[in-house]
């Protein structure tokens, strides 16, 4: 034999709460509304006949503004972001190894596996991931090729005399013209080689340091 006016107040309150919770996933919305409804019911059970309109109004006032409750409910999801989760697990460690070195074992693909792990991890920001990916693509995949390019030096050339019908005459003649491409290009190639050597390790170090720094900052259950 509850007071219908009181019941109406509760009904309105729960309706407003549902509206405010529109941005929250359906399941959570249902669950939270049920919890609040249960809370109201328990509070009313302590009042004679479930309380009159005034008593229930007071009760609802203590429960608070549906907008505030909804805001806290929305904040629940915000903290799914990296700050709350474990970092420095196997994904991160493996990524840090594969990014520079994966390419040495299986060119490009080994490195790419590192990239996949990098982006799967929640331990780095997007910007850090971009640095890890583009410095340098392939990691050390191209180190071998790069070294050959520089040390072999395109300074030699081979020529083969051909007859009018395209048949080789005599043997191939190769000449090593020494610094055939000139010192400038050689220097540039050297610079390229240094970059290829340093960048993958630097990139992995950068990611590793960011990881360490983030792990040191304690995370609290925030307001």
């Amino acid at each position: 034999m509850t007071d219908p006016a009181a019941d109406a107040l509760v009904g309105d309150f729960l309706d407003v709460l549902q509206d405010e919770l529109a941005a929250v996933p359906a399941e959570r919305r249902r669950e939270l509304t049920a919890e609040i409804a249960g809370h109201i019911a328990q509070a009313r059970a302590e009042l004679p006949d479930g309380g009159d309109a005034d008593e229930v109004a007071l009760l609802l006032d203590r429960i608070g503004d549906p907008a505030d409750i909804a805001r806290d409910a929305r904040d629940e999801d915000e903290h799914e972001a990296p700050p709350q989760q474990r970092r420095g697990g196997w994904i991160e460690g493996l990524a840090l190894v594969l990014l520079p070195l994966g390419g040495l074992v299986i060119p490009v693909i080994g490195w790419f596996a590192g990239v996949v792990l990098l982006w799967a991890s929640n331990a780095w920001t997007t910007r850090e991931k971009l640095v890890g990916t583009f410095v340098i693509p392939g990691g050390y995949s191209f180190l071998l090729a790069g070294t050959l390019l520089v040390t072999a030096g395109p300074g030699g050339s081979c020529s083969q005399e051909l007859s009018p019908v395209g048949e080789p005459i005599g043997s191939e003649v190769c000449t090593d013209t020494g610094g055939g491409v000139g010192p400038v290009v050689e220097v540039l190639l050297l610079v390229l080689l240094v970059v290829l050597l340093v960048a993958p390790i630097a990139s992995a170090l950068f990611l590793g340091l960011r990881l360490r720094r983030r792990n040191r900052i304690p995370t609290l259950v925030g307001a």
């Binding site: 959570r28 939270l32 049920a34 919890e35 609040i36 249960g38 809370h39 019911a41 328990q42 509070a43 059970a45 203590r62 429960i63 608070g64 503004d65 549906p66 505030d68 409750i69 806290d72 409910a73 904040d75 629940e76 903290h79 709350q84 609290l220 259950v221 925030g222 307001a223």
Partner: protein, 113 residues
């Protein structure tokens, strides 16, 4: 809300999760029950309904776990208890809080009551 009020509210909201953990130290409790205890402390809990999102956060952070219990008088009720992580978080907070309080107390010692 003035800036001062806002700051104090933030302070309260910051400690509220740990107050809940402290209340769960001795035994598992229902949300309704927790709200009652918190309401006894002036100004700590302004909106009772917000205990539910708070408990959900604590659950997701694995500081508490919840169990549904059949109730003879109505729908099943959820009760909450501390996890090992929760106990650890509480202990850590207590140490931080005591140090913080001691420091602030020293600073405001001369401020008239």
């Amino acid at each position: 809300m003035t800036d001062d009020e806002a700051r104090l509210t933030q302070l309260r909201r910051g400690t509220l999760p740990y107050c809940v953990l402290a209340l769960l130290r001795d035994q598992p409790r229902y949300a309704f029950d927790l709200v009652r205890s918190l309401a006894e402390i002036d100004g700590l809990m302004t909106s009772e309904g917000t205990i539910y999102p708070l408990l959900n956060r604590l659950r997701r952070d694995r500081l508490v776990r919840s169990t549904l219990q059949e109730s003879p008088t109505g729908p099943p009720r959820r009760y909450y208890e501390l996890t090992a992580d929760g106990t650890e978080a509480l202990t850590g907070f207590a140490a931080e809080w005591r140090a913080f309080c001691a420091a602030v107390d020293t600073l405001i010692a001369e401020v008239p009551r």
